[in-house]
Symmetry: C2
DNA sequence: GAGAAATCTATAAAAAAATATCGATTTTGA
DNA sequence: TCAAAATCGATATTTTTTTATAGATTTCTC
């Protein structure tokens, strides 16, 4: 019973959330390797490059690929395809973004999301002065138009880049417009009905981790961190 | 043996990384509550607001606070102070940012980092045209000045907001300048010497989680997700 | 002031994730 | 062809994280 091929949902039962988060990291490395002409790659080599352990890489890859060969490793091209497929990068999803401030515009003009299977079709903002066309070529529309567009295009993903104080309100509006997955960049906790998923970027959490590391280093306590590889928490 | 008071490092042994990541989330909520005049709050109430379970909240808070009282809960003000202290928000850390593109500028002008104990003292960019003073009031300096400034100010935190292709090079330069904690926003894996910490924001990982949720919902498989609270993975 | 309710702490159990072990498979090269 | 080296997959163990249970403490109400 191998879950080798299929969409993300095909194997959701078998793939841990941690594995899911690592897949894009593997993918980035593998694509770099592709560029440099590599054809095969072993789990051990991947592990070394990423500072992980071999067994973990193998277990992760086992969730999406139908395996490598002893003495050879995985076929790079096939592995890339498998991961992309598992992550759904081969059928892009449309999304809207709300809040065309600095961060919103930065995300709009970041072209890389296409590669991740995400297509931001338009942005919305309450401030009419921001409306029009962004440098990125995306339309910035007034909030009033949001519901209609989301419904018409069956948009299921909403990206929230408004200040914390209005984030909940925006969240509610997006849900009302039929969005069921929210990517929240506002530093606040959002409430939504059951089975709406909210994924908040927790920048403060990241900072806390960096800060702890610094404390450990600067106060030079016993370094109970295996000192043989760069520290990279997730 | 209670780890009630102290810096982050005082209790690093006892606090899991997951707990560390949740602390800022509690803090955000607690501060909102403070605004609205609340004086005491119970672990159960916090859990409900954040969609967590009571026991988890209690265990997390036990790492930083010296406890609440039965029938009353925690004293809000004291709890806020304890968390802030545990996270080191009360002694700000200086940082530099490299890459004054859209994302870099967005982070520069986001005032909220001060609240998290992070103080971005300057930004650097190779493109001379970007140098000068940002709208945020922060200086944007040429890369050549970086090492000198970092050394002079003993900067230990570097924020990388350059394109993926130059991220490794920037990483190397920061390390050379004495930085030991890196916050990487470029979608690539960075290598650095031992005991340099790299915390990469894994946007693609977040997207993968949203995408999986969408797949589950849209293909309407059995909803093996406890359907009684909004889904909020970390 | 006694009993009930709420909430806490501490300890225990369960679940999830990471890591280790071991045997199997494929290629390489004598 | 056959042994050695590399690498894989499957299963087992350990560690980490989450959740549950049981008993103690504080406040409230009558």
């Amino acid at each position: 019973m191998k879950a080798g091929k299929g969409t993300v949902s095909d194997m959701e039962h078998h793939m841990s959330i941690q594995t899911l988060k690592r897949l894009p990291i593997y993918l980035t490395l593998l694509k770099e390797k592709q560029q440099s002409g590599t054809v095969n790659i072993s789990a051990g080599a991947i592990a070394q490059e990423l500072g992980l352990v071999e067994i973990q890489v193998r277990k992760d890859l086992a969730c999406v690929s139908n395996g490598g060969k002893p003495r050879v490793g995985y076929v790079l091209d096939a592995l890339v395809r498998d991961i992309e497929h598992a992550l759904g990068y081969d059928n892009a999803r449309d999304a809207v973004l709300v809040g065309a401030g600095k961060l919103g515009k930065a995300l709009l003009s970041y072209g890389g999301f296409r590669e991740y299977g995400l297509n931001i079709v338009a942005a919305f903002d309450i401030d009419e002065r921001r409306c029009g066309t962004d440098e990125s070529g995306k339309r910035i529309l007034p909030m009033e138009d949001m519901k209609e567009l989301c419904e018409r295009m069956s948009i299921k993903i909403g990206i929230i880049t408004v200040p914390a104080v209005c984030a909940q309100q925006v969240c509610d509006k997006l849900v009302d417009a039929g969005v069921i997955a929210l990517w929240n960049f506002a530093p606040t906790h959002l409430k939504a009905p059951d089975n709406i998923m909210i994924k908040s970027e927790n920048m403060a959490g990241s900072l806390a981790q960096l800060s702890r590391h610094l404390d450990e280093k600067l106060h030079a306590q016993e370094p109970h961190v295996p000192a043989d590889k760069t520290i990279q928490y997730n």
